[in-house]
Structures are given as structure tokens and as C-alpha cells.
């Protein structure tokens, strides 16, 4: 009996590289194998393991929207051995991809609701997939608001898309940078994400909030949302615990009875409240 090797990645060719901010890059990846390309499907919220052959695998979300066919994108910061090797790649080079893994953002359940996306720093990529997905299904939703903060103007990722969202009438974008991170021509806000969210005068009614960012941003944003009247099941986030397999076997991402790679990475705050805070 021959079974499939679940650890075997797809070979992907890098067709586009975008320098997002210092040490942050976006790769557009296309399947080398045409049959694989045709059979591949994913939903927003899912992630994969990306290989730099010679160094190993790293876990990132799929940062592009499933409505954009023919490729996937990932955005990563160069912080370790694998991401450094990936950062050295050029257009035309081959990397590996395993996935899609994990659960999804429940867009069907959000039909007819207002959406508020709140992201900090390098945590915009997982939400960017959802935002584009929702924009491509625009008539499913009511108001779409995005609050995005970074340490400095230089640290904002997807600058060209932020510009596009600013110009679009069907999405409201609020950008902010930490005090001291602004430039003379900066037209966005200056301040941390939680107070900026508080000042927006959001209503929790018929609204879901999707929050992703560094632990401190999430920790300080949740009380603000609670104050605004958001219930724990109206708040979504996506976790990224360390993973090796992505298949619910290697044990690394396990917290409480949950495997982030299988039961996540998407959780509501109500679900997270049931887990030990080991993420």
C-alpha cells in the first residue's frame, strides 16, 4: 500500500518580489506543476509551510486572497535562518510550499455585517488576504473599516495597496504610526492602535472585529473593543504558534486541547478564552 508523503512540498516559482519595508518582503509564487496549480484551492485564513531548500521550512499565512487565482503570496520578515535564505531568493528561483492548512475566516457567517480589521506591524498580511477577499465580494458586507498601525512610516507594509484602499469609496482605512515614527509628509494618525480604535466611534452592533498584531497590541485592543460593546464571539484573531508539521502531529503549536495548525489559526476571542494563554 503506497500512501502519499504528507511532508512533500509543492515546488513554486517566485514570479514577483515586493520590498515592503526594511527586511520585509512579499513573494508571489506560482506552481511549477500545472496540474497542481489547477487542483490547488484554499480559503482565506489558511497558512502554509514555505521551504528554502537547504535551510528548512517556515510557517506563514497565505497573504493573498483566494479570489485572485493562479498564484499565492506570502509576506515575511527576515528574522532567522529560513527567512534569511528566502530573502536571498530572486525572481525565477524555486521555493517549496506545503498547504493549505488550518481553518478559515467564516465569511459566509459575516454576510450582511460591518467588518472592522485591526492590525499592527507585520500582522497585516493575514488580514490582507481577508480584506481583499471581502472587497472582491463587496456586496456581501456593509461597512468595511481597516485600522492599521506600525512603528514608523517605513514599517508600513503594502504601501501601494494602502493607497488604493484610501482612494476606494467602499473601504475606510485609518493608518497610524507610533509617536516619533512619523515623517514630515505623513497624513495618517500618530499614536498607538488601541486609542486610535477607541476614537473611531465604532458601533459593535451587527459588526465583527478581526484583530491581528503583536501580543501587546492585542492585549490593549481587546479591552477597548469590550468597552465598545463587542462580545467575545464578535472578535476574531489568527494565531501563529511555532509549527513544524502543520498537520496536527509535531506537537509544537498545541495549547490546551487545541492544535493551532488544525483547530486554528482562526479563533474567536470566545474560543481563546477557553484556552490557556500559551500562544
Amino acid at each position: 500500500m503506497t500512501e502519499k508523503n504528507i511532508y512533500l512540498p509543492y515546488l513554486m516559482r517566485i514570479t514577483k518580489i515586493t520590498e515592503e519595508s526594511p527586511a520585509v518582503k512579499t513573494f508571489r509564487l506560482e506552481f511549477v506543476d500545472e496540474v497542481a496549480a489547477q487542483n490547488f484551492d484554499f480559503k482565506t485564513g489558511q497558512f502554509g509551510l514555505y521551504s528554502a531548500f537547504g535551510e528548512g521550512e517556515s510557517t506563514f499565512c497565505i497573504a493573498s486572497s483566494p479570489t485572485r487565482k493562479g498564484y499565492i503570496e506570502c509576506t515575511f520578515r527576515e528574522v532567522g535562518r529560513v527567512t534569511a535564505a528566502l530573502a536571498d531568493k530572486e525572481v525565477g528561483d524555486i521555493v517549496g510550499f506545503r498547504g493549505p492548512y488550518g481553518n478559515v475566516f467564516p465569511l459566509e457567517a459575516w454576510k450582511g455585517k460591518n467588518l472592522v480589521f485591526i492590525a499592527g506591524g507585520i500582522a497585516l498580511p493575514p488580514l490582507r488576504s481577508v480584506i481583499w477577499n471581502c472587497l472582491d465580494l463587496r456586496d456581501w458586507f456593509k461597512d468595511i473599516t481597516v485600522v492599521y498601525g506600525a512603528r514608523s512610516v517605513a514599517d508600513l507594509v503594502y504601501k501601494h495597496e494602502l493607497k488604493e484602499w484610501t482612494e476606494r469609496p467602499d473601504i475606510k482605512l485609518v493608518t497610524t504610526v507610533d509617536p516619533g515614527g512619523e515623517t514630515p509628509d505623513w497624513t495618517g494618525k500618530v499614536g498607538f492602535v488601541p486609542p486610535v480604535v477607541e476614537q473611531l466611534g465604532l458601533s459593535a452592533e451587527n459588526t465583527v472585529a478581526i484583530v491581528c498584531g503583536p501580543p501587546i497590541m492585542i492585549k490593549l485592543t481587546l479591552p477597548v473593543l469590550e468597552k465598545l460593546g463587542f462580545a467575545p464571539d464578535q472578535i476574531y484573531t489568527t494565531l501563529e504558534n511555532r509549527m513544524k508539521c502543520g498537520l496536527g502531529k509535531c506537537g509544537r503549536c498545541n495549547t490546551g486541547s487545541s492544535y493551532v495548525c488544525k483547530d486554528g489559526p482562526v479563533y474567536t476571542l470566545a474560543q481563546l478564552n477557553e484556552l490557556p494563554a500559551e500562544y
Binding site: 504528507i6 537547504g54 524555486i94 511555532r242 513544524k244 508539521c245 502531529k249 506537537g251 488544525k262
Partner: protein
């Protein structure tokens, strides 16, 4: 109900010969260098006597310490991937204890829920277990607290219980019957031996279902910190454990070729959950100790309807700072 037979010492000799003739290697506990470990044997006389347990578990027969998952060759602009095939040898595991035989079920649960792991499965398929019941236990043993027992049949294809003239042989599974079929006349009719009277006596140390039920409510209990104070995070417990399945995936490569390897790992290591950002969800050794207990006694029952521990006590015997899992569980059960 198992078919029960008698297998004399002479007939076990012949059975070993028949198994080898059938192209199977026999792994059994062997004494050497002051320790008892699994090794390939040709005849029963080579098998250790009087051992309670081997130090290492038998899990590497189905889950090797290091296993190649794939390999590749690279050149500018191209990568050629090569699938890896596990070298699964027909193997009979002789003389493992009932606790360890049962442990393969816990490994199977992880390797085959949802995604199926072909490496594990290829090896498991070619492995048969001839377990041998325990006639003695030590203060690390606690199988009877976890629903097992010194003569428990779970996980064995054939279970042997030593009797005066040889063994009582319970043929339990299709694989067991296939072994019997190699030399059916070696298995003579069994009499009404009372297995329980022969096997080791081991009192139940704590109420496991009650412990499992209360674990979710005692996550913040200071007991975990107290118990872990002396833990040095060496990971020996995980390496000797027959059910510990957590693994790492590592790359071994030079500029032109490489391979991806699965290696044993331990949730007790400080880097196990360390994020690239420097954030570590389980920053302290006590959080990692608690994870070990919860994974085996709370997560496993919830996800796989079984325990992630068989009470073999290997971790306790291997621990360099004398942490006794049975005692720690008794303490937790008494909270």
C-alpha cells in the same frame, strides 16, 4: 476472546527459527553494558531475563529517532524533489511489556488522525508484537492506574505469560494468527491457567478518570511549579517515552543537495515553542512540565479518547533528578 495455547521453551526456540525463516528480524531485550535494550536476536537464549523494562522504548521501530522525509538536488533556478520511502523491515518485537505494546496505539492516534503518516504506517504494518507479561513491577510502574495491567493484552499480537514449562500464549490478532500459522504445531492446547495469579501485583495508585476530569480546573495550581522546580529540561523523559511523539523537522544540506529529516523532540526543551520574534508561549520549565502532564492526561483523552501515557515508568527511571511521574500524578489527583 483470545485463543489460548501453551508454548514450551523448546517450541519458542523453534518459533524464533520459523520467524527468521519467514524473513523477519526479531528484536528483543538484550543485556549488555549494564543495561537492557532492544537488539536483534536469533534465539530465545539471547533474550534478557529478569528485566522489568528496557531503558529506551520500542517506539523507534515505527518512529525512528531520525527519519528522512524527502531529499532534493538543487541547481540555479531548479529544484528536483525526491520522495523518501521508509525502509520498513518485517519485524517481530519480542518481550516488550504490555504497557509498551499498548503504547503503539497512542502513537497511531497522532500519526493517523486526519492526515495519514506513511512513514509510520509502513513500519507499523510490518511489525508484530509478541509481548511478555510482567512477573514483577517496581516503584516507577503504574499501568494499573491507567487501565492497563501486567498481563494486559492490548497492543500485543501474541501475549506470552511465563509459566513453569514455558509460556501461556494468547493469540490475539490477525498478525498473531499469521505467526501461529508459520508453525501451528508449536502451539499446544492451553490449560486453564490463572494468568492473574502469575502476573505481577500492582496496586492502583490513583483514580485517573477523576484526575483527567479535574485537570482543566487546576491549570493555575502552584503544584506544577513545585513539581517542576528540580526539572532541568533535559528531555530524557520524552526520549525514553513509548508514547511521546512530538518531533522536529530539520534540514541537512550542502549547496547542491539536501534532505529533510524528522527528529525526536521534547516539549520540555525551552526552544520547543519559541517564536522567531523571541516570544515564547511556554517560557518557564514549570509551564513545559505542565504541558507534558496535560497533553498526556487531558488533551489525549479529549482528542483521541485514550491516554497519552501507559504507566511504564521509563521516564521516572531515566530522570536524572528523580522526578517520579507516578508520585506527581498521585499528588495532582489528591489536590
Amino acid at each position: 476472546m483470545a485463543d489460548t495455547f501453551k508454548l514450551t521453551h523448546e517450541n519458542l526456540d523453534s518459533l524464533f527459527a520459523a520467524l527468521r525463516k519467514d524473513g523477519r528480524r526479531i528484536l528483543a531485550p538484550v543485556d549488555g553494558d549494564g543495561r537492557t535494550e532492544l537488539n536483534e536476536v536469533e534465539k530465545p537464549s539471547q533474550v534478557a531475563k529478569g528485566y522489568i523494562q528496557t531503558i529506551m522504548s520500542a517506539k523507534d521501530v515505527v518512529f525512528p529517532k531520525v527519519e528522512r522525509l524527502l531529499s532534493y538536488t538543487t541547481a540555479p533556478g531548479t529544484v528536483e524533489l525526491h520522495d523518501a520511502e521508509p525502509k520498513a523491515l518485517p519485524t517481530v518485537l519480542f518481550g516488550v511489556r504490555p504497557c509498551e505494546a499498548k503504547a503503539f496505539g497512542a502513537l497511531d492516534a497522532v500519526f493517523n488522525w486526519d492526515y495519514r503518516d506513511k512513514f509510520f504506517n509502513a513500519r507499523l504494518e510490518k511489525m508484530a508484537v509478541i509481548g511478555v507479561s510482567c512477573l514483577k513491577a517496581d516503584d516507577a510502574c503504574f499501568c494499573t492506574s491507567l487501565g492497563g495491567g501486567p498481563a494486559d493484552t492490548a497492543g500485543s499480537d501474541i501475549l506470552l505469560t511465563p509459566i513453569e514449562s514455558g509460556y501461556l500464549a494468547e493469540v490475539l490478532t490477525v498478525k498473531g494468527k499469521a505467526i501461529q500459522a508459520l508453525a501451528p504445531n508449536l502451539f499446544t492446547p492451553g490449560n486453564g491457567v490463572d494468568k492473574a495469579a502469575i502476573a505481577a501485583k500492582l496496586e492502583q495508585a490513583f483514580d485517573q478518570p477523576a484526575l483527567t476530569a479535574k485537570l482543566p480546573g487546576m491549570f493555575e495550581n502552584e503544584l506544577w511549579e513545585d513539581q517542576a522546580l528540580r526539572c532541568i529540561g533535559c528531555g530524557a523523559c520524552a526520549y525514553v517515552c513509548p508514547t511521546c511523539v512530538c518531533f522536529d523537522i530539520q534540514e541537512e544540506a550542502d549547496p547542491k543537495q539536501g534532505q529533510r529529516l524528522r527528529c525526536w523532540d521534547s516539549c520540555g526543551f525551552s526552544m520547543f515553542t519559541l517564536h522567531a520574534s523571541g516570544h515564547n508561549p511556554r517560557e518557564t520549565q514549570s509551564a513545559r512540565w505542565r504541558q507534558r502532564i496535560y497533553h498526556k492526561f487531558s488533551t489525549y483523552p479529549e482528542r483521541y479518547q485514550m491516554l497519552g501515557c501507559v504507566g511504564c515508568g521509563k521516564c521516572t527511571r531515566a530522570c536524572p533528578v528523580d522526578m517520579n511521574l507516578r508520585e506527581h500524578l498521585v499528588e495532582a489527583a489528591n489536590v
